[in-house]
């Protein structure tokens, strides 16, 4: 079944090449998204056996991720249809195809149980997402794509080196160096620590580049700034999540190998540093899409910070992974609509969004409040859980810095967001033809609804699954 789930999008991608009409083709996306989501839910609800093998399989951790990603892609695919229809004269053959391939590779990366296979899948994600960035085909998007591709590939190369190191530490441990995660975790105590540490550093930097942790984040603002908002949502919610999943898997191995102190302090440092960098660049940020990119950097920092803190922090950051992804969906898609309506992503040209696009503007504002951790939205609980864990762990400095960063980020972000949302729209903006349609608004509303839901009611199955995942990460052989 899992294999099918990977193959279907690939197949559709192939079909996408075949279809001629620029207007019919986009329908493949909702189709693929729906199928994928259907299969996922069937599997998670236990209707269908996952039927994994040694290479593809489900464990408590990637179950959660799979469900989340499938949902994310489903909503984005609905939006994508509306978006592409709204730009009929922009050729979307390659876009559609690579979007579907991207989905396939995401799924593969999630379900992969083998170190090498996962690496291949993640690299494939990077490559298949490159054309997505280049959708607008102007010099700026070209530059963004170039940077994204090269930096991403370097990062992934480092990850590969790290994988080799890990394998070598297994080899040196004298065990038959299989690179299946289950074996690695089981045999972890025998791994040779020097190699393991070096491996983790490389892997962390490598996949951290994909996550966009500072200082490896440099591709992010360019890529998110130039790509269509839809792609931004998928990268910020999907690709980064995959990379985070990878980091989690290696953290699990280090943890099983009883060699976690260094790893944790490293994660805390990088996490705080990412938040700080994001804060620096969010103050007086005049470009609201780049602002979202930096916000993504910040939240990646929060994720690894939570893991580094440990304890309840792990649960917190797993929950935050979902909250952040969904909220980013709201923000990026809403930003995309605003961008379409105003034809600019500079704050100077954009104002009064809530009057020009009442629904989108309101959603953008709500998404901003959500992402900055205001109750009763979901992110509040995850961030608060992480803070709690830090305080409970007696790490008052970490907690203090965490809060300071959150504050600075809020100050910076709010001035930009308010400038966009409030005030009077310019005549040019009012003249532009764009209107909110069902396909471009409904997905955002659903996203926001989910974020709100996670704030007022975390479904018990979900929280159970998250707790299992956290336990799974902390598992000691």
């Amino acid at each position: 079944m899992l294999l099918v789930q990977v193959l279907i999008p690939l197949l559709l991608g192939g079909i996408a090449f075949a279809i001629r009409s620029n207007l019919k083709r986009p329908w493949l996306l909702p189709l693929g998204g729906t199928l994928h989501f259907a299969i996922t839910s069937a599997i998670l609800l236990g209707k269908t056996p996952a039927a994994g093998d040694a290479w593809l399989g489900l464990d408590p951790l990637n179950k959660v991720v799979l469900g989340f990603l499938s949902l994310l892609f489903f909503l984005c695919s609905v939006y994508a249809r509306g978006y592409l229809i709204s730009r009929p004269n922009q050729p979307n053959r390659i876009f559609t195809a690579s979007l579907l391939v991207f989905l396939a590779m995401l799924t593969l990366a999630v379900e992969a149980q083998h170190l090498g296979l996962m690496w291949v899948a993640v690299e494939a994600c990077t490559l298949s997402s490159a054309p997505l960035l280049y959708f607008n085909q102007n010099p700026r998007s070209l530059e963004a794509t170039w940077k994204y591709l090269l930096i991403g590939s370097v990062g992934i190369a480092l990850a590969l080196l790290g994988s080799y190191f890990l394998a070598y530490s297994a080899l040196h441990g004298g065990m038959s160096a299989s690179l299946f995660f289950s074996d690695l975790v089981r045999e972890a105590p025998h791994l040779s620590h020097p190699w393991l540490r070096s491996a983790f550093i490389l892997l962390f930097v490598g996949y951290g580049t994909k996550m966009g942790l500072a200082p490896m984040h440099s591709w992010k603002p360019d890529a998110y700034g130039e790509a269509p908002g839809l792609v931004g949502a998928l990268l910020a919610g999907g690709l980064t999540t995959i990379a985070f999943l990878a980091v989690l898997r290696f953290y699990q191995i280090c943890n099983a190998a009883h060699d976690v102190a260094f790893v944790r302090s490293m994660m805390v440092t990088i996490g705080l540093f990412s938040m700080a960098v994001a804060a620096v660049f969010m103050v007086r940020q005049r470009d609201y899409k780049r602002m979202l990119a930096y916000s993504s950097v910040e939240h990646m920092g929060i994720l690894v910070l939570g893991i580094g803190i440990g304890g309840a922090g792990i649960f917190g950051s797993l929950l935050h992974m979902i909250n952040n992804g969904l909220t980013k969906g709201v923000l990026f898609l809403a930003a995309a609509n605003i961008h379409r309506a105003y034809g600019s992503k500079r704050v100077e040209d954009v104002s009064g969004a809530i009057r020009r696009l009442p629904i989108t503007g309101a959603l953008f504002l709500a998404g901003f409040f959500a992402i900055t951790g205001s109750p009763p939205f979901g992110p509040f609980f995850s961030e608060f859980t992480i803070l709690r864990a830090a305080v409970a762990g007696g790490r008052f400095w970490v907690a203090g810095l965490f809060l300071v960063m959150l504050f600075v980020v809020f100050v910076g972000m709010s001035s930009t967001v308010f400038a966009v949302v409030q005030g009077e729209p310019s005549e040019k903006a009012s003249a532009s033809g764009y209107k909110d349609t069902f396909f471009t608004v409904a997905p955002i509303i659903v996203f926001l609804g989910l974020v709100l839901l996670l704030g007022v009611y975390v479904p018990p199955p979900l929280s159970r699954a998250l707790h299992e995942a956290a336990a799974f990460i902390e598992m000691k052989p």
Binding site: G155, P215, L387, G423, Y457
Partner: protein
């Protein structure tokens, strides 16, 4: 049962604005429906809370599947008073809004405003009833955001946007402090409910206190942390200002009271700190108020002052608790809570009447007004009642609560303990100073707005506002009188509050400790005497009809409106006395020569903390951060270098 009533009130209030959203812009049906729902919800809430006072509520405790969350609601003596106040003021405000913010006059933002107004009410009601920190935070932030959004309803005006930004930043800082505080609280007690905990080690306790004072103080507008308050209150629609100033800022007080109730044995310096903060806030607040030209800003600064008085009461209560002295606790907390209530009433009244004036004259500048008492007699009367009440003069409600605080201060001054009583001894004169200054300020503003001759043509077309605006004001004025004349009705309720705050020290009854019956008696007598006197005076006038002429101006032939003593000149000496804090900007052109050009003397007072400290600091910080931008310089080589360096650093760190 009672709890469910209150919850029903919350739901109705929250939903009040929703149906209107489907009304088209110009039709007014939505607003009436919204008001109806709001009033209905308010009734539910008030009845529920009232019952909860009579028969303490069992409370509700349902599962709430979010991390650390339980849907725990309980209404004790403290909550009940706040609930009643919240629902009362917001219901009156929403009726007032019918006349003041007609949908037909405000097609763009009317619906938004009503929606967030209801949400704000619901959020406040939720947070004062919540017994679970997560639920509290939820209510808190709903309130904060709704307040921001209803403040920003007129976001097409630049000043409103700026004010909203300042408010938002301040309230977020507060929220983050509360994050930290609740996290500490959880670590110390291991639980998410406001349960009186075991001994908390002093370090944590101190941290919690500081965070609570900053976090809640920001919301309440205690002096150094009041920065958002004047602007916000001035720019918001008046019934929203009334709700914000009358109720919303009190949520900070509520939080402080609730959190402090967790500490059975606070160190002495806690009480002293709160008391001193109160004095500073009170004196400087009123000093700033005197120097304002915008009457809504002036009222806003008076909120700062009254919050100061409330804090003084709270400080006395804390002192009492650390001495284990029940008298001080009862007097101090009773005074504080009662003043919270009273301030809600008379400040609401003042803002509503100010709004009525604004509605009629479209100016907020005191020196543009004058002589309105003839054109808007009822508004003038309402404002006068509010003014007398806020100055804490008998026989109105302000006097009762200030009396309690005074008694607390005097009692603490009479304490035998070493030199600790000095704080109390200094508190009483400070309160006296505050009272006198407030009196000066309100005589000035009332005189300048309503008495004398008009100073500008703004007042020419001023006419008395309609009933929808007047009735809520009348109700509030009535309450001011009732509380002032029948304080003993409230006393048992306050005893309940004390019981909820410090159960171990709630032995004594307020009636015994404070001469409330005397106050009530003398109040009635005073009114009686005044009426009799008035009757006699009138008889005398009928006997000897009075002639009317122009004001006699020491033989000056043509006294004109411009020759009146303007409010600025009225306040000049006092502003001079406080110039060390107010830093007034004065332009005083010297007029020399035989025929000097027409010149104008102007003096204005900015908010020292905001305009001369925070904003420059923020700009500096921005510049510093901007300097880091070169890191993101667009060169790929640099970016790859960062990755390399990270690797190297990590490998060396390993």
């Amino acid at each position: 049962m009672t709890d469910w009533l209150v919850i029903a009130g919350m739901v109705l209030a929250a939903a009040s604005g929703v149906p209107g959203l489907w009304q088209e812009r110009e039709r007014g049906g939505g607003e009436r429906l919204a008001t109806g729902l709001m009033v209905l919800g308010a009734l539910c809430g008030i009845v529920g809370a009232g019952l909860a006072i009579a028969w303490p509520s069992a409370g509700i405790d349902l599962g709430w599947p979010v991390p650390g969350g339980r849907f725990a609601i309980r209404i004790d003596g403290i909550s009940a008073l706040f609930v009643i106040q919240i629902f009362l003021i917001s219901a009156l405000g929403s009726v007032y809004g019918l006349g003041y913010w007609k949908q037909s006059e405000h097609p763009r933002d009317g619906r938004k405003l009503r929606l967030f107004y209801g949400l704000m009410t619901a959020g406040m009601a939720l947070l004062v009833c919540a017994r679970n920190t997560m639920l509290f935070m939820a209510g808190w932030e709903i309130m904060a955001l709704a307040a921001f959004l209803s403040l920003a309803a007129q976001d097409d005006q630049r000043t409103v946007r700026e004010v909203g930004y300042v408010y938002m930043v301040a309230t977020r800082l507060a929220t983050l402090c509360l994050f930290a505080m609740f996290a500490l609280l959880f670590t110390a007690t291991g639980r998410f409910d406001f349960a009186a905990s075991g001994p908390i080690n002093s370090g944590t306790a101190t941290a919690i206190l500081i965070l609570a004072i900053v976090g809640f103080g920001l919301k309440a507008g205690v002096m150094p942390m009041h920065v958002w308050l004047p602007g916000a209150h001035a720019s918001a629609p008046s019934h929203v200002s009334a709700l914000m100033s009358g109720v919303l800022i009190k949520m900070g007080i509520y939080g402080l009271v609730r959190v402090l109730s967790l500490f059975p044995h606070p160190p002495l310096w806690w009480g002293q700190l709160v008391l001193v903060l109160g004095c500073v806030s009170g004196i400087l607040g009123v000093a700033f108020a005197i120097s304002q030209h915008d009457f809504k800003r002036l009222l806003a600064y008076h909120s700062v002052e009254n919050i100061g008085i409330i804090c003084m009461g709270l400080g006395v209560a804390l002192l009492g608790r650390s001495f284990g002295n029940s008298t001080l606790v009862v007097l101090g907390l009773g005074g504080a809570i009662l003043h919270v209530w009273n301030h809600g009433m008379f400040k609401g009244l003042l803002f509503l009447s100010a709004g009525s004036v604004l509605h009629a004259t479209h100016t907020r500048d005191i020196d543009e007004l004058g002589g309105l008492a003839k054109r808007m007699p009822w508004t003038a009367l309402a404002f006068l009642v509010g003014a007398v009440a806020i100055c804490g003069l008998p026989p109105l409600n302000g006097f009762v609560s200030e009396l309690l605080v005074y008694l607390g201060l005097f009692r603490s001054a009479a304490l035998p303990q070493g030199t600790l009583w000095l704080t109390g001894a200094l508190g009483a004169p400070a309160l006296a100073l505050i009272g006198a200054l407030a009196l000066a300020c309100f005589v000035k503003v009332h005189g300048a707005m309503f008495l004398g001759e008009p100073r500008s043509q703004h007042t020419d077309h001023a006419a008395e506002s309609n009933r929808l605006i007047l009735v809520p004001m009348a109700v509030l004025a009535g309450i001011c009188f009732l509380v002032g004349l029948l304080p003993w009705v409230i006393a048992p309720v306050l005893d309940r509050a004390v019981l909820a705050w410090a159960p171990e020290l709630s032995g004594q009854r307020l009636m015994v400790l404070a001469p409330l019956s005397w106050v009530s008696l003398l109040g009635w007598l005073l009114l009686l005497a005044l009426l009799v006197g008035a009757a006699l005076f009138r008889r005398h006038l009928r006997a000897k009809p009075a002639a009317t002429t122009g004001t006699w101006d020491c033989g000056y032939v043509a006294p004109g409106p411009t020759m009146q003593y303007s409010s600025s000149s009225f306040a000049q000496t006092l502003v001079g006395l406080f110039s060390w804090a107010l830093r007034p900007k004065v332009t005083n052109p010297d007029t020399r020569g035989l025929f000097p050009h027409p010149e104008a003397f102007t003096s204005s007072v900015d908010d020292v903390v905001l305009d001369s400290m925070l904003i420059p600091a923020a700009q500096l910080g921005t510049r510093v951060l901007h300097w880091f931008r070169w890191v993101q310089r667009g060169s790929m080589q640099a970016y790859l270098l960062y990755i390399l360096l990270t690797l190297i650093v990590l490998f060396f760190w390993k």
